[in-house]
């Protein structure tokens, strides 16, 4: 076997990671079979029928094989590192161009149309970003802890993300958040992931519980971190826990006092008026004017300078950072309303409301999720059998060959089939990470982690959405969902990694 570089290396069979290729093939075939299952009731043709979705998917699969072969045998893997910058810039150009030149599909300008062929640049921008990240981060002397390097890395990720958000494809942009796991592997402080997790928790608590609860939880977590860091866990148990427990009774105590003063009916009336925003004209007793949240903030405001001063004397920067984070968290609590009501678009807000159970809406936004849960739930342990699903074949699940393809799998193959598919993905991701770690070149390792992160984000968001764990975010299930540009992009992404991996193994 002669590779494109002309060097003679070890044989093909020994250098390609066949487990990845087989895994890819199995996923693609599962997708094809299930696309046919999801449409066969409406269009009763054969699985190859041209023009039907399964027939089209056969074409996409065929072309994907060509892409895979080109990447493995024709394109020299060494090119990627050098070409990553031009590729990245071209893709960014395409992303911007599609906003103006693209056609509108379901309210977002993210598709180019060339006659019957449609193509979404956001799909390939994941590859371009991954290559770019791998190039930059594998440079000699790169240190993620250094501000300059970190900012550059963040910019590479955030730039395509922002443009994709401008295309109203917030779901696709969310995938880029997954790169944080790769950054973690490459030395980013784990605290950043922790902070992001806390920010999401704070956001959810503020929306579903109340700002008071959110601030209380923040206070608890911050104090725990400070105590753990300085090895005073006992202090935390003895002092902080009782203090926070006491604080948590403030709202009840205030309400009790107010009820004693003016009676419980009047209190309820005022609260109802507040909810409607008409309380301004009412005669409100002093105890109800003082919000529990402000009392809590006052307590924090008094306590923090002491803690900060103490930390200053001990030269304890961690405590300072923790306090700053706490304050940032409180700012987030207060800006949640703004973020939720003014930054998010209407449909996104509704999806989150339904997910968090703030609104029951089985008819409107909840429809997709309910239908998809019914379909998957009705599958039971072993499913209803291939082509025997009742829910998905009758068209009750929307988008069932694209974003909701997992419903068909869940219904017809049951828990066994769905778990198998998930485990297959886990194996694929694990295998990519395994190969990446084995690699001697930083470029291959970082690119491999990027691939793993993208597949993971798609997997978790897509399946999480169909079973009601995530809000409805329209992104495809890699290799399985119907669609040419998504299949091509994921295939190219994976096989570039296989090619990079093979290139190294040839000589070692």
């Amino acid at each position: 076997m002669i590779d494109a570089g002309g060097h003679r290396g070890r044989g093909l069979a020994k250098t390609i990671d066949w487990s990845l290729v087989i895994c890819w093939l199995v996923l693609v075939l599962i997708g094809w079979a299930n696309i046919y299952a999801s449409i066969h009731a409406a269009e009763s043709g054969s699985i190859f029928e041209f023009g039907s979705r399964s027939g089209m998917q056969a074409i996409w699969i065929g072309t994907s094989v060509i892409i895979a072969v080109l990447i493995l045998f024709v394109i020299p893997p060494r090119l990627y590192e050098g070409l990553s910058l031009p590729i990245y810039l071209i893709v960014i150009g395409l992303l911007v161009a599609v906003i103006f030149l693209g056609i509108e599909v379901k309210g977002s300008h993210s598709w180019f149309a060339f006659g019957p062929v449609r193509f979404q640049p956001a799909e390939i921008s994941k590859i371009a970003t991954s290559l770019m990240l791998a190039t930059v981060m594998s440079q000699l002397g790169y240190k993620i802890g250094r501000l300059k390097d970190f900012v550059l890395t963040a910019a590479i990720i955030v730039l395509p993300m922002m443009i994709i958000v401008l295309q109203s494809e917030t779901g696709s942009a969310l995938v880029y958040v997954g790169f944080i796991f790769m950054l973690y592997r490459e030395g980013l402080s784990g605290w950043l992931i922790f902070m992001i997790g806390m920010a999401i928790l704070t956001f959810i608590l503020t929306l579903t519980q109340s700002p008071f609860v959110a601030v209380l939880v923040l206070l608890g977590v911050a104090s725990l971190c400070i105590c753990l860091y300085s090895g005073r866990f006992k202090w935390w148990l003895i002092i902080c826990v009782p203090a926070i427990a006491l604080l948590s009774f403030i709202p009840d105590i205030f309400t009790a006092i107010a009820q004693a003063q003016i009676g419980s009916e009047a209190v309820e009336a005022i609260e109802a008026a507040r909810a409607e925003g008409t309380a301004a004209e009412m005669d409100i007793p002093f105890i109800m004017k003082v919000r529990p949240l402000y009392v809590l903030l006052a307590v924090i405001g008094i306590a923090t300078p002491f803690v900060a001063f103490h930390a200053f004397r001990e030269r304890n920067t961690f405590t300072h950072l923790a306090i700053i984070s706490l304050l940032a968290g409180i700012v987030l609590v207060f800006s949640t309303d703004f973020l939720f009501n003014d930054v998010l678009q209407d449909h996104q807000r509704k999806r989150i409301e339904v997910l968090l159970g703030m609104k029951e809406d089985p008819a409107g936004v909840g429809y997709n999720v309910n239908q998809s849960k019914i379909a998957i739930g009705s599958g039971g342990l072993f499913g209803k059998g291939y082509l025997h699903g009742t829910q998905t074949t009758y068209g009750f699940v929307p988008e069932q060959s694209t974003d909701f393809i997992f419903c068909t799998i869940g219904e017809e193959w049951g828990f066994a089939g769905s778990a198998f598919v998930i485990l297959l993905y886990v194996f694929l991701i694990w295998r990519i990470i395994h190969d990446a770690e084995r690699s001697r070149e930083g470029f291959t390792r970082i690119y491999g982690y990027c691939v793993a992160c993208c597949i993971f984000m798609h997997l978790f968001i897509n399946i999480g959405m169909t079973i009601g764990l995530m809000p409805v975010i329209g992104i495809p299930l890699p290799f399985i969902s119907y669609g040419g540009s998504s299949l091509w992009a994921f295939t190219a992404m994976l096989f570039i990694f296989i090619a990079l991996d093979r290139n190294e193994r040839k000589y070692f």
Binding site: F181, R185, P362, Y367, T390, I422
Partner: protein, 613 residues
């Protein structure tokens, strides 16, 4: 195993996968409520169709309401052998029909699968009740109530439009929004306001047991969706006036449009002959009958027919003349039975001479307007006749002519106003002069405008210089109208020039018989009607009879345009029709003095005169 970052990430991956699998386990294995055995239980979705929004007239009377009818649905796979005779008897159908249908279902059984299809549409409630009593004998068949349209007033067939089942073409144009079996508004207000009127479908989910019986609600109806009724629409139409207008236009071909000048609201819009509302309710049955009618009742003449406006258009030329300064209200011109240029002559009728501007309107002198148009086109301020012509075109268009006015009525057409480019194409550059196009002066020649344009012109004059875009939907609680309908549109002619025209129109109607005023027949005591007649020459037969009028002169409440094809002089048919409508609107009755005139109009039949092409 080392506790390094790679392994931490792998642990994270496994945790995430475990969360997914655990959730799957809970909904697929633990939670029984989702589970249905494929052999025994399936869910049946029954669509709940929303009631369509009601269409009101301007006073809240119902123009279009709803009544219940039943569709007989069948799930072919569930049908067992049944007693065809009883079936046919209760449902009033022939055995052949049933046999044919059942064969069709057999042929398409793969495509239909377990789906439910419509067998008989829109059964009246009485018929369906007969069936319901014996329905237990016919598994697989059931009735689906849906609301169909009902028309309490016989008014505005063309205006309201019809609702019918969506066809493949319509489905292709509106993917995701409709499913076959849905109904949608296809013409008129029903089409224009489809989004508001249609409402939102809902569904019930039922569980079917192994004997194909519907057993219970799925999850106690928790997953059901209520249908949301469509929003009601309030139109600007005056139902009684519309009905009266239709009676006046009966057995005549043409159009009658009335607008409230102070708002642009269309009070009445008649296109004759039109579609009877009785036919609208069941358009499918009558469709071929309507479309084969030689008088084309589907063709809405009020907004689609490009007619020559005739002498009514003199008002526009007069106003342009005043604005351009080529004419003053006191300019006198002679008329000797017409306007003579070279060997040619554009004829006129006998009246006194010379006359001033107001008198020219009152007596509708042709020669006077030939002078005006010549002055406009040969104005030395412009470099060439091309420029002058285009200026004239610009003026005319500022009255709304030659373009769609932008009303909320679908399928409005724009008509045509010529410009220099057009004449250069016809006659060659430099191959035409003012006298070549002299018939434009009296609204003949290459001008095409719809009755809606004429009514709008009348409203513009009534308002002394501006118009609101005519529209048929009023603001109401759930339905907002485009703010453009609340904007004044000024013409390029100063408002100061309009009172002179109004004066002429007033004198045309109210000078009494024998004075030379052309529209004395339209006069109604106390109503101060101002009007202008038109007699549009028509190469295909009798002249068209045209009339526009508004009243009262100060503070106008209604502006009307009547266009009667092949009606002869404007004063013969159009003027009485328009003035009767005006009188009816303002006083809600016809005075005794004018009863004979009303009789003549109501009984007049001009259908023989209209050549059917």
């Amino acid at each position: 195993m080392k506790f390094n970052r790679k392994n931490k990430l792998i642990i994270g991956l496994c945790t995430a996968a475990a969360i997914l699998i655990a959730k799957l386990f809970s909904i697929q294995i633990l939670d029984d409520s989702y589970k249905m055995d494929a052999r025994n239980n399936t869910m049946v979705y029954s669509t709940i169709y929303p009631t369509r929004g009601v269409i009101h007239d301007r006073y809240g009377n119902i123009l279009v309401g709803n009544k219940v009818a039943y569709d007989l649905m069948v799930t072919p796979r569930e049908v067992e052998e049944f007693d065809t005779l009883t079936f046919c008897e209760v449902l009033d159908v022939t055995p052949e029909f049933v046999r044919e249908k059942m064969q069709e279902y057999r042929r398409n059984r793969r495509r239909i699968g377990w789906q439910t299809v419509v067998m008989i549409k829109q059964l009246p409630p009485e018929t369906y009740m007969r069936f319901a009593e014996v329905a237990y004998k016919f598994p697989g068949f059931r009735g689906l109530p849906r609301s169909i349209r009902e028309y309490p007033f016989n008014a505005g067939g063309n205006l309201l439009g019809y609702v019918s089942e969506v066809d493949a073409n319509y489905l292709a144009k509106h993917p995701d929004e409709y499913k076959s079996g849905d109904y949608a508004g296809k013409t008129g207000i029903e089409a224009a306001r489809e989004k508001e009127l249609r409402g939102e479908k809902g569904y019930n989910i039922w569980l079917r047991n192994s004997r194909n019986r519907i057993e219970s609600r799925y999850r106690d109806g928790e997953m059901d969706k209520e249908a949301i009724p469509g929003d009601d629409i309030t139109t600007t139409i005056d139902a009684e006036l519309q009905h009266y207008g239709q009676m006046l236009m009966a057995n005549k071909v043409g159009s009658l449009v009335a607008i409230e000048p102070s708002t642009g609201e269309i009070l009445t819009m008649v296109s004759s002959p039109g579609i009877d509302v009785e036919m609208l309710a069941d358009i499918g049955q009558h469709y071929s009958e309507i479309s084969s009618n030689p008088y084309k009742p589907m063709f809405n003449r009020a907004v689609q027919a490009p007619y020559p406006p005739g002498s009514v258009f003199k008002l526009v030329n007069g106003l342009i003349g005043l604005q351009e300064g080529v004419l003053t209200p006191n300019t006198m011109y002679p008329c000797s039975m017409g306007y003579h240029f070279g060997k040619n002559k554009l004829g006129c009728h006998a009246h006194k001479s010379p006359i001033n501007f107001e008198e020219s309107i009152m007596m509708s002198c042709n020669a006077y307007y030939c002078y005006i148009l010549r002055n406009i086109l040969e104005n030395g301020d412009y470099g060439s006749i091309d420029e002058a012509m285009d200026k004239w075109n610009e003026y005319v268009k500022s009255f709304g002519f030659g373009q769609k006015l932008g009303s909320d009525f679908p399928s409005e057409l724009g008509g045509f106003i010529p410009d220099s480019k057009y004449y250069n194409k016809v006659y060659g550059k430099g191959g035409w002069r003012a006298t070549t196009v002299i018939s434009l002066s009296i609204g003949q020649g290459e001008i095409g405008c719809t009755p809606l344009h004429l009514a709008n012109l009348c409203a513009t004059i009534a308002n002394r210089g501006f118009y609101y875009i005519p529209h048929i939907v009023k603001d109401s609680e759930n339905v907002e109208i485009d703010p453009k309908y609340k904007e004044r549109h000024y013409t390029m002619v100063d408002t100061t020039h309009f009172p002179k025209v109004v004066g002429g129109m007033y004198r045309a109607v109210n000078s009494g018989f024998g004075s030379g005023g052309t529209a004395s027949i339209a006069a109604v005591e106390g109503l101060d009607i101002c009007g202008k007649t038109g007699t549009a020459q028509n190469p295909h037969g009798h002249d068209h009879s045209v009339f526009i009028c508004f009243a009262p002169k100060d503070d106008p409440k209604i502006a009307v345009a009547a266009y009667v094809e092949n009606g002869g002089f404007g004063a013969t048919w159009a003027a009485p029709i328009a003035s009767l409508l005006t009188e009816m609107y303002l006083t809600r009755e016809i005075s005794d003095k004018r009863k004979p005139l009303e009789d003549r109009i109501l009984n007049g039949d001009l259908m023989d005169r209209v050549k059917v092409r």
